[in-house]
């Protein structure tokens, strides 16, 4: 047994003698040459667990419970001193993080950063370290490794940066690689490449891997053992087959069921409460949605939209960057247009132009009832609500701006109705955004959009920042609102499973252009453009 964890408990000081427990009573075994996935939503304590295994918890702030045991090859690391960790860290156990850009030092070439570890831990000479660094870069699949040694981190793409991080981590032949959400910040196609690289390295080098993620679909592809955590506690542990095919814990069942799947399009997604209330897995499959919502008149038309940005280079030179090039689209009443693409494809810029926030350089947007018939829900519910406004203030602002309601009382009543519509309690009125969870905040943002009774709602990655279980609730809410008010949606996301669940029609964007468009069912079943095919193949968990 490589690593055994027993009774792990981590408390965090929150000031003035108070503390919160981040992890309690956690125990699992990690054998040699095995990949174990630690799965959980935000606040589940999975990252804290990883840090405590590396002995990297912030000192003074975090405290390990007295009965905790972290046993590395028969030695309890918690009883040894700091020297023991020092000897293990970076040599026997290595770690890669979510954000490659912040994990690499921006002022040194990547080669120098790779060589530092090699010379420190392996005692290699300068030349030998350089040779080895080039070998490592080749191993992680970076083209022209010799030349790339002198590249600075910003000269590499996000995927390449993560590859460099992986090269650094495996440079000392560690026996355990801890990967904390290593692909969350990356595009789907890049994610697929990194996943394959990690699996290959794990096999070739005979490492064990602790893979930390919130995404169950990823887990099904690479792990053999799974540990599911929630609120710092272990919910279920077992082999991959066992956990995926016959989950015993209602929370695991819920996690598996809440996530939209590519194969099916249920009317509603099951939500976590259904399972936690004790009902086992929904007996009958949920009713499937009719393939296409009935189309009415066209509410939103965009023709030939273009947006350029001028980038200054040096003193005189400037370069024109086209974010969106010649995009035309139509959205009918009650229908949902999905816009998919990777980062830099121009989908957010398109959304901002449709919502009237950005003025297109060329082309036009026509909306049935005028400019405020389109509203937009953003990705980050923590940034899209003014932190100094109460919920009442947030909801009444659009009413005030458009002269809806003559008195304050009337507007307050309307704001309460809006809260009802998005399923929030009426006593939320006097509270501030920071008192709500991410899902609740997204509901407030949706309520604010509904205030003006828009005909079209642009959802720009609106559920991407939310946990799987919350995501399902918000998607259901959006679906209900659409049925009730016959709104049209422009649903922008990098997550193909979510778009597939929501959309009637799809627009695939690459580098500002539409490369393929059509009805969702046809497009997902029979993609024509090679880029669309690549995107679909990269979606995890399709096996």
């Amino acid at each position: 047994m490589l690593l055994r964890v027993r009774n792990l408990r981590v408390d965090f000081q929150t000031g003035r003698g108070r503390s919160t427990t981040a992890v309690r009573n956690l125990g699992f075994d990690l054998p040699e040459r095995t990949t174990l996935a630690l799965v959980g939503e935000s606040g589940s304590g999975k990252s804290v667990t990883a840090l405590s295994l590396m002995g990297l918890l912030p000192q003074g702030l975090a405290q390990l419970g007295g009965e905790s045991e972290i046993v590395w090859q028969g030695h309890n690391l918690l009883q040894g001193g700091e020297e023991r960790w020092q000897a293990l860290r970076g040599r026997e156990m290595a770690m890669i993080f979510q954000e490659p850009m912040t994990s690499l030092n921006p002022v040194f070439p990547v080669g120098a950063q790779l060589m530092e570890g090699l010379r420190l831990h392996m005692g290699l000479s300068r030349q030998a370290a350089r040779d080895r660094a080039a070998e490592l870069l080749e191993l992680v699949g970076i083209p022209e490794p010799r030349r790339r040694l002198d590249a600075y981190p910003h000269e590499l793409s996000g995927g390449q940066q993560q590859r460099v991080m992986i090269a650094m981590a495996i440079s000392t032949h560690p026996r355990l690689l801890i990967a904390d959400e290593p692909t969350t910040a990356l595009d789907v196609t890049i994610q697929r490449q990194i996943m394959e690289l990690l699996m290959k390295l794990q096999q070739d080098m005979g490492m064990s891997m602790l893979f930390i993620t919130h995404d169950l679909a990823l887990v099904s592809e690479l792990a053999t053992q799974v540990v599911v955590m929630r609120h710092g506690e272990l919910r279920e542990a077992g082999s991959l087959r066992q956990v995926f095919d016959a989950p015993a814990d209602p929370y695991t069942q819920a996690l598996l069921a809440c996530r939209p799947r590519m194969g099916e399009r249920p009317r509603r997604l099951p939500v976590i409460e259904d399972f936690m209330r004790g009902a086992t897995r929904a007996a009958s499959p949920p009713p499937q949605r009719s393939p296409v919502s009935p189309g009415g008149e066209v509410l939103l038309t965009a023709r030939g939209l273009c947006k350029h940005y001028v980038i200054r280079e040096g003193l005189w030179k400037q370069r024109v960057f086209s974010a969106v090039r010649d995009v035309s689209l139509e959205v009918g009443q009650g229908r949902t247009l999905g816009v998919v693409g990777e980062s830099g494809s121009g989908k957010t810029t398109l959304g901002l132009m449709l919502a009237g926030i950005l003025r297109p350089d060329q082309g036009s947007v026509e909306v049935g009832t005028g400019p405020h018939g389109v509203q937009i829900v953003f990705q980050n519910p923590y940034a899209s609500l003014n932190p100094r406004f109460t919920v009442a203030h947030i909801l009444m602002e659009p009413l005030l701006l458009h002269g809806v309601g003559t008195t304050r009382l009337e507007r307050e009543e309307r704001a309460r109705e809006l809260l009802d519509q998005v399923g929030l309690p009426r006593n939320a009125m006097g509270r501030y955004p920071h008192e709500f969870s991410g899902g609740q905040r997204q509901r407030i943002a949706i309520a604010r959009c509904l205030a003006l009774r828009p005909e079209v709602l642009v959802c720009d990655e609106s559920v991407s920042a939310l946990d799987v279980s919350v995501q399902a609730q918000v998607l259901n809410l959006l679906r209900d609102l659409q049925d009730e008010y016959h709104m049209s949606y422009v649903f922008i996301s990098h997550d193909l499973a979510v778009v597939h669940h929501m959309a009637d029609d799809i627009l695939v964007m690459q580098q500002g252009r539409v490369v393929e468009a059509g009805p969702a069912d046809r497009l997902f079943a029979d993609p024509q453009h090679p880029y669309t095919r690549r995107l679909l193949e990269a979606v995890p968990g399709r096996r």
Binding site: H372, Q379, L385, P425, G430, R431
Partner: protein, 346 residues
Amino acid sequence: MTEPVRSPGLWVLAWRRLRSDRVGLVSLVIVLFYLGVVLLSSMGWIARDWTREVGVNYAPPPFWANDQDETAKALPPPPEPATPPSLYGLTDPLGSVLADIRREYPHDLVTHDLPRRLTLPLGGDKWGHDVLTKLVKGSQTSLMVGLVSALLATALGTFLGALAGYFGGWVDDGLNWLFGVFTAIPYLLLVFAIAAVLQERGVTTLILILGLTGWTGVFRLMRAEFLKHRSREYVLAAAAMGASHARRMFVHILPNTSHVILVQLSLNVVGFIKSEVILSFLGFGVPVDVVSWGSMLNEAQNELVLGKWWQLAAAGTAMAILVTAFSMLTDALRDALDPRLQRRED
């Protein structure tokens, strides 16, 4: 219906945190005390008669008087001359008028000089003014100059910074150029230049000088804040709802930068109080008929040669205490208003 819940806003939370910060609280009490004194004095309830010469020249404070020789005696008021002095055979052209006035208003021309006191609580100056009342009046001037000019500078800096950061483009370029011009000239030189051009000396002039030159620091910070906030999603959401530029700038963004403004304001108050003192000390400050800490220190340099240290000590101590308390309060406010700290506590 359920009872509506009102949550504590940012200011309530800030006040709670400030209350638990002992240093900050003491500083707040000291600053409030100064403000109270200034208020009373500007209402004319205290220190109105600071110009009265109540003591002997350089009257020492009581605890210092023991060491002094006893030559200084209470001087009786000078006897009024019974007869007009000899005019060498000339007739006084105003003599008859004066006689009339003397007949009609017998009390107005009588000097009611009380016997001058040998010691004063904080000593006296060259003319026998009470340093304590002078100090109170001086505090009023210095604090008024500090507060009003800081308000002016902060408002100006905030407004220009908001314009530059929010609109960007040529507005930003233009205002940055102005900012560059102001910061390129050494501060005191700029202030002297403006003072020399304005000619007229007075409290208003002083406030204008300090306010119009001191906005640059606030401008730089507020520009950065607005630059950061203008593309935040909550501002975009306001734009999507049809909020005007002014509404986005001042209703949505401004409250989110209030902690920066407040801290800048109090830093400016401290800075401008010191600037006023320096300017008055160098003779560019308040006119002769107005007393401020700076003019007191200016007088004190001559007195110090004679060993009369109390005016210097009084003005210096008063200023030191206020400036220290204000700086501490600023620190405490910065901690109390930092939204990141607030999140950690939740």
